[in-house]
């Protein structure tokens, strides 16, 4: 879609900002995103010498520093690498880059801080509007689309019942995502559907999952693990009650949280759930005929091999 506004072409080659989590706990997401991009003929050019986006911790101590840190990533992509699109698959990074964009457009004080710190750090100051931040979901949805994806599917995900879990940072707060809620074809903040659309195109049976944007308590997993475990357990149970055998994720924090608390719920509360947790890029990769190793299945804590074997996907 979107041939009219040029996104299909524009998104075929983008600056890639993996962020810290994709080098650590979310490595399977990094691996599968790159593999899927390659299989689809899309180009990712990693942002040179990138830094942390400011994550959750910096943002809460000093939000202006977070704005600067995110702006530096955007500056390198736009001013040093010449890109007008930065793709960030991590919800935290995506959210923070979007927030920085919003800050720089709307807040003079943020602009002044970013100008001062950029000068001090010796790089060009990023100005709002120089680059567009997109998520991996936007990237595949716009550059390839459901039709294009369907045409490339080698192993249909048919038989997989998927609950699509978007987490909190992909849609909140609404005002930093001005391109969402723009009617037909755009993403919705209250009822996101891009992941549903892509996985349906790959043959999956999406279930009606009522907690797709629910908070998993991820940021509090260390300060109060029981809250997180209970929230996650209810998300897992709701997915199972919806008939899902897989939860598809698009955020490394959500993914790790679901995996870890699934185990913790059993150990701490004796509550066992069996729904499997996979990144949407892993599912797409398998549908495109990539090997389990190529999409990093071996890196997941949630062992989905038996289910995928049963469905003829590995």
């Amino acid at each position: 879609m979107s041939k009219k506004d040029g996104k299909t072409e524009k998104y075929r080659k983008v600056a890639y900002y993996p962020g810290c989590a994709l080098e650590g706990t979310g490595h399977a997401y990094n691996r599968s995103t790159k593999a899927v991009g390659k299989a689809l003929g899309l180009e990712l050019d990693e942002v040179k010498n990138w830094n942390c986006c400011g994550a959750m911790e910096v943002k809460n101590i000093d939000p202006k520093i977070q704005t600067y840190l995110s702006s530096r990533v955007l500056s390198i992509a736009a001013n040093e690498m010449g890109y007008d699109t930065v793709m960030a698959p991590c919800n935290g990074c995506y959210h923070n880059l979007k927030k920085a964009e919003y800050d720089l457009e709307n807040d003079a004080e943020s602009r002044a801080v970013v100008e001062r710190l950029s000068t001090k750090a010796g790089h060009q100051t990023y100005s709002s509007g120089q680059a567009e931040t997109i998520h991996a979901l936007d990237w595949i949805k716009e550059a390839i689309g459901e039709k294009g994806l369907k045409a490339r599917v080698k192993n249909s995900l048919k038989g997989l019942k998927v609950a699509n879990y978007y987490g909190c940072m992909y849609t909140r707060p609404r005002h930093i995502f001005p391109e969402k809620d723009q009617g037909e074809g755009s993403e919705s903040t209250s009822e996101p559907h891009f992941m549903d659309d892509l996985l349906a195109a790959a043959g999956a049976n999406n279930v009606d999952f009522p907690l797709k944007t629910a908070c998993c308590g991820g940021a509090h997993t260390l300060s109060d693990s029981d809250i997180s475990t209970k929230l996650v357990l209810n998300i897992l149970r709701a997915a199972e009650a919806s008939g899902a055998n897989v939860i598809a994720t698009e955020c490394p924090t959500c993914h790790t949280g679901l995996e870890m608390h699934q185990i913790r719920a059993e150990k701490r509360f004796g509550e066992k759930t069996s729904v499997k947790i996979l990144y949407f890029t892993q599912l797409l990769g398998l549908a495109l005929g990539l090997s389990p190793r190529k999409v990093g299945l071996q890196e997941n804590i949630s062992d989905s091999r038996d289910l995928l074997r049963e469905k003829g996907l590995v």
């Binding site: 959750m56 911790e57 943002k59 809460n60 939000p63 935290g92 959210h95 927030k99 919003y102 800050d103 807040d107 909190c168 940072m169 849609t171 909140r172 707060p173 005002h175 930093i176 209250s190 009606d208 009522p210 907690l211 944007t213 629910a214 908070c215 308590g217 991820g218 940021a219 509090h220 300060s223 109060d224 809250i227 209970k230 929230l231 209810n234 998300i235 149970r237 709701a238 009650a241 919806s242 924090t253």
Partner: protein, 136 residues
């Protein structure tokens, strides 16, 4: 007001029986959860309605000046949506939906109970407090 633990127990009971007649009670339990939050802020829980639901009016009251409370906005809306689905279902088809509505109500209960214990829940991540603070 019942305790969060009692509310949770009642939600679990309703989930077990999956009786479509329970839809209204699940919404009321959701309201009771939000009353805890509003009262905890030293305010009188509103009796107003928004879009036909007191639940949504209570959420609106509860998130005033507290952007992190927006993290359960969709949960409240989902519970109202589930209620509508159950109310409009014919011939006992709402039974499965009651179970789902109960999961949503339970989630709301867990989230708000969590926030009553750890106020920063939902604040580190999606609320972007500084943006809201500037705008309020």
């Amino acid at each position: 007001m019942r305790s969060f633990a009692d509310i949770e127990t009642r939600i679990d009971e309703l989930a077990l029986h999956a009786d479509p007649a329970a839809a209204g009670e699940l919404v009321r339990l959701g309201e009771e959860v939000l009353e805890h939050w509003v009262a905890g802020r030293g305010e009188e829980p509103t009796q107003d309605q928004r879009e036909g639901f007191r639940l949504l009016a209570l959420h609106r009251q509860g998130c005033k000046g507290e952007p992190s409370f927006n993290a359960c906005r969709e949960t409240c809306r989902e519970l109202a949506y589930q209620y509508n689905l159950i109310s409009q279902a014919r011939g006992g088809r709402g039974a499965k939906q009651v179970h789902m509505a109960a999961m949503v109500a339970k989630y709301l209960c867990l989230f708000v109970a969590g926030k009553m214990r750890e106020n920063k829940l939902g604040e580190f991540c999606c609320s972007s407090r500084d943006l809201r603070a500037r705008e309020n």
